[in-house]
């Protein structure tokens, strides 16, 4: 499998999500953690970008970071998979390697 990209920056403040998407080959995974989870919610100005990226990538969001920020599953873009820390570990092992877009 290709690589897993993790993104921990809010897409409203930083361009990290764009940097990751620009370099993510088809089939690589995108995991949103920490402030990166704000990219996972529907109805925002970045939601269309994330939906478009779903054609080429599985997109995951770290559930504990979603709940911590007052959001829940109903806000998450349909098709974005919610994982917990166990799921995070599984993704790290399933994909070949990890690139953290700090």
């Amino acid at each position: 499998m290709a690589m897993l990209h993790t993104i921990n920056k809010s897409p409203f403040e930083r361009r990290t999500l764009d940097a990751a998407l620009r370099h993510a080959v088809k089939g690589s995974g995108i995991l949103l953690i920490e402030d990166g989870v704000y990219a996972a919610f529907d109805g925002t100005i970045v939601a269309d970008k994330v939906k478009a990226a779903m054609a080429d990538h599985e997109i995951y969001v770290l559930g504990p970071d979603v709940s911590a920020r007052g959001m829940s599953e109903e806000h998450v873009i349909s098709g974005v998979k919610i994982v917990d820390y166990d799921g995070f570990v599984d993704l790290v092992t399933q994909y070949d390697k990890v690139q953290s877009w700090l």
Binding site: N8, D84, Y85, D86, D90, V92, T93, K97, V98
Partner: protein, 130 residues
């Protein structure tokens, strides 16, 4: 699977250390081997036993120490980064002529080569930072 973890931020300022702790706990619980946790940049501040967070806050350093004790983890602070930021063990304090040391139990100080070695020996390296 054999995993290593790199922590590049200090505790409290950024969520990186908290995420790294949760990830490490989950990985260990799933039966993975943690080859090493390496602390670089301000991440070395995870390893001072002199931090005293408020009682109703989590104690991140104590969490690392507990994890190290429970699971025999190798927690390594980069020596160059630690010296810049005033994190010392007994040896380094003596070598640098300082009047005390502040490294927390479960941590050790060593060189950047330990990070490269972790990259070579581990099947995955996961980085947490800002």
């Amino acid at each position: 699977m054999k995993l290593s973890i790199l922590v590049n931020e200090g505790p409290y300022q950024h969520q990186a250390a908290d995420t790294a702790i949760q990830f490490t706990k989950a990985a260990v619980a799933k039966g993975h081997e943690i080859f090493r946790v390496f602390f670089y940049h301000d991440g070395v501040n995870n390893g001072t036993r002199f931090a005293v967070p408020p009682q109703d806050d989590r104690n991140i350093t104590a969490q690392w120490t507990a994890l190290a004790e429970e699971h025999n983890l190798d927690l390594v602070l980069c020596i160059a980064a630690a010296q810049r930021r005033g994190i010392l063990d007994e040896n380094e304090a003596k070598r640098q002529g300082k009047d005390g040391n502040n490294i927390a139990p479960g941590f050790r100080i060593s060189g950047l080569g330990q990070l490269i070695e972790a990259g070579i020996q581990s099947e995955r390296l996961v980085i947490f930072g800002d």
